[in-house]
Amino acid sequence: MGQETLIEAIRTRLGPDLEGSADSFGDLVLLLRAGSVRPALAALREAPFDYAVLLDLTCVDFAASEGRYELVYHLYSLSRNVRLRLKASVPAADPSVATLVGLWKNAEWLEREVFDMFGVRFEGHPDLRRILTYEGFEGHPLRKSYPWRLEQPRIPLKDDV
């Protein structure tokens, strides 16, 4: 179905949860309310749209300029061979959103990475720990506030080299 009919179908299906739609270099982008991410994506996974694959989940830090983190979900529909990008903003003060664990199995690791890199909490995640950095690491490196070259060594390093 064309992009227009698709947007209409999604708007009727999601109702108030869909805050808007945009176009970025030819790709369809939908803006969601942060509170309704899980039901919205669960709905998009079902029959008429069947976005079966959670391609990617990442986050962009607009904390300094707009005081929010923007979660970016990429879905892919195998049968209709089309991608969809969904964006949801969470306030920088207390960034937390519902988890997708239970809908897709790769959500567990993707969400652990976003938590590790940005500090966004995922409510209901069974095992929300750091995945790329290590236990004693303070702070979240991919935040704009984290300095680029601030190293936190795990073992004492010789400095006089």
Binding site: T133, Y134, P141, Y146, P147, W148, R149, L150, E151, Q152, P153, R154, I155, L157, K158, D159, V161
Partner: protein, 158 residues
């Protein structure tokens, strides 16, 4: 040179010769240089021509720690543990720019050179170094082994 000194120098050269041509290396491979290590260890460039072909995957049986690829801060304690568990006499080769100086990654995640963790004998620059450079680095290490003061049970400490 008294008789005893004559004996020990002969022993030193014999020891150096024996040790340099039978290096069992522990390939501590992490990143892209591992691909170049594969080329060096395989038939085309063949590190075995210089006696260093036998890879030992346990630090107990290895006397050359070949650190290949980027060492991140999360991996640093692992590298330190493997180095400590190796038996004397042991040598370390830093293979690739990331091990020499952190290479192109100067950020919060990467150790800026493994000589902050373990004492290194030979540095091989290059990102990744060509197999010929690796073999050249190995030859330099063999010279170093031949001409250094050999370490054995009753060796007199300098």
């Amino acid at each position: 040179m008294s008789g005893f000194d004559f004996l020990t120098t002969r022993l030193e050269t014999a020891l150096g010769w024996g040790r340099k041509f039978s290096l069992f290396h522990y390939p501590f491979i992490t990143a892209c240089c591992g691909m170049e290590y594969m080329s060096t260890a395989c038939a085309h460039f063949d590190i075995d021509r210089f006696g260093a072909g036998l890879t030992r995957f346990s630090p107990r049986q290895a006397d050359l720690l070949l650190v290949v690829g980027t060492i991140s801060h999360k991996l640093a304690p692992v590298l330190r543990t493997v180095y400590d568990q190796m038996l004397e006499p042991k040598w370390v080769i830093a293979f690739g720019a990331c091990t020499v100086s952190g290479g192109i990654y100067q950020n919060y995640a990467v150790v800026q050179g493994i000589d902050r963790i373990v004492p290194v004998d030979v540095y091989i620059p290059g990102c990744p170094p060509r197999p010929e450079m690796v073999l050249d680095g190995l030859l330099k290490l063999q010279d170093k082994i031949q001409h250094q003061k050999q370490d054995w049970r009753w060796a007199r400490k300098p």
